[in-house]
């Protein structure tokens, strides 16, 4: 797995940098960590990103790397962050409460489940599309999403108390 040239990474950053930053901000809810994650994602592209050239969707590749970087960075969060000053834009296709509940519950999820949660509740993919993306059966994805929803509900109820 080789890397990308400086100019290729610069072009990726110009096209997708703001989208990667937005996703990292959604996941981490911490502007400084999100900026750290943004640099880490493009550093990985610089060092190991040659496969992005043949990827069906460069953005989906970057999102996958971003989710993994955020998973690692999330471990550095020792205290709940205050809500960000400006919420990233969101679309009515998201059920905001469900999305926020899931994002709040990410900290307790295994790495694989975080990816499934992001694909479902942030990217809005169908269960079949997620199954294709992560190489699992649709039944497995369905079961995972059910577990994630239940965790999110517990988290939301806990926050209400």
């Amino acid at each position: 797995m080789g890397g990308l040239a400086h100019d290729e990474v610069a072009a990726l950053y110009e096209a997708y940098g703001h989208l990667v930053r937005r996703r990292c901000g959604l996941t981490l809810r911490d502007a400084a960590l999100a900026d750290d994650a943004l640099q880490e994602v493009f550093l990985k592209a610089l060092r190991y990103g040659s496969e992005v050239k043949s990827a069906a969707s460069p953005l989906a590749w970057l999102y996958r790397v971003a989710d993994n970087c955020c998973y690692t960075l999330r471990k550095k969060i020792t205290a709940p962050s205050p809500p960000p000053a400006a919420e990233p834009s969101w679309h009515p296709v998201h059920h905001l409460e469900a999305r926020n509940g899931v994002l709040a519950a990410l900290a307790g999820l295994p790495e694989r489940d975080v990816r499934v949660a992001m694909l479902a509740f942030v990217d809005g993919l169908s269960q079949g599309e997620i199954a294709d993306e992560v190489g699992s059966s649709r039944q497995t994805v369905n079961r995972k999403l059910q577990e994630i929803r239940e965790r999110a509900l517990v988290r939301l109820r806990g926050d209400d108390d």
Binding site: H18, R112, L125
Partner: protein, 220 residues
């Protein structure tokens, strides 16, 4: 989520320049989606104003220079000499609670288990094991079809210890050599196995979706 709107990922891709006439037609007729895409355009302008491409790339170069490409393996797992390793034998018939499995490209699947010897007692473990100094470990791999496989131990801190590097293994159960002993300062890690490409991707990006995993926790 509803059927009426494209997915956020589709909208993100359209905004980033993907040619998708269906999504573009929807955005042209949907206020909510048009507002979402317009917000993305404002976020692009804001980032370009804050960190223009040249500035960002200079930061990235500095970060690359400061950060080693491959974090070193911290050497807390050590190979056991052949005679001593014989004491860690294959366990048959004792099944762990559950196996993690992953499908392989081209067909078949792979599963991992761990045989641990502690205080003279052997146990077969999956999908996780909590290590103590002095534990002796053997990795057990089960393949449903003959495949090229890589296996290794990926530390949470980034180090990687290869155990099998792109080797062709027959279908069936394999107990990997060498046996390993946990030294005095184990580091939380994950044993990963899968196609060489998937293992390489897991090492470089920590994307564990296409590999089978067995978690090694370090006892506090």
């Amino acid at each position: 989520m509803t059927e009426a709107h494209p997915s956020p990922l589709q909208l993100d891709e359209l905004h980033a320049g993907k040619d998708d006439a269906t999504v573009a037609a929807h955005v042209a007729s949907c206020r909510a989606c048009a507002d979402y895409v317009a917000a993305l355009a404002r976020e692009r302008e804001a980032l370009q104003a804050e960190w223009p491409s040249q500035v960002f790339m200079r930061r990235l170069a500095a970060r690359a220079a400061a950060k080693p490409r491959w974090p070193r393996w911290s050497r807390w797992l050590v190979a056991i000499p052949v005679m001593a390793a014989a004491a860690v034998a294959l366990l048959v018939g004792l099944q762990p609670a559950s196996f993690d499995t992953v499908r392989l490209k081209g067909g078949g699947s792979v599963a991992l288990a761990l045989i641990a010897l502690r205080d003279g007692v052997q146990e077969r473990n999956a999908p996780a094991f909590t290590m103590r100094p002095g534990d002796q470990l053997r990795i057990e791999l089960t393949l449903t079809e003959r495949r090229v496989i890589s296996v290794g131990v990926l530390e949470d801190t980034g180090g990687f210890l290869p155990l099998v590097e792109a080797a062709t293994l027959d279908a069936g159960l394999h107990v990997l050599e060498p046996a390993l002993r946990v030294d005095s300062h184990p580091t939380a890690s994950t044993v990963i196995a899968g196609s060489p490409d998937a293992v390489q991707r897991a090492i470089t990006t920590r994307d564990l979706l296409a590999v089978v995993t067995l978690r090694l926790n370090a006892q506090p």
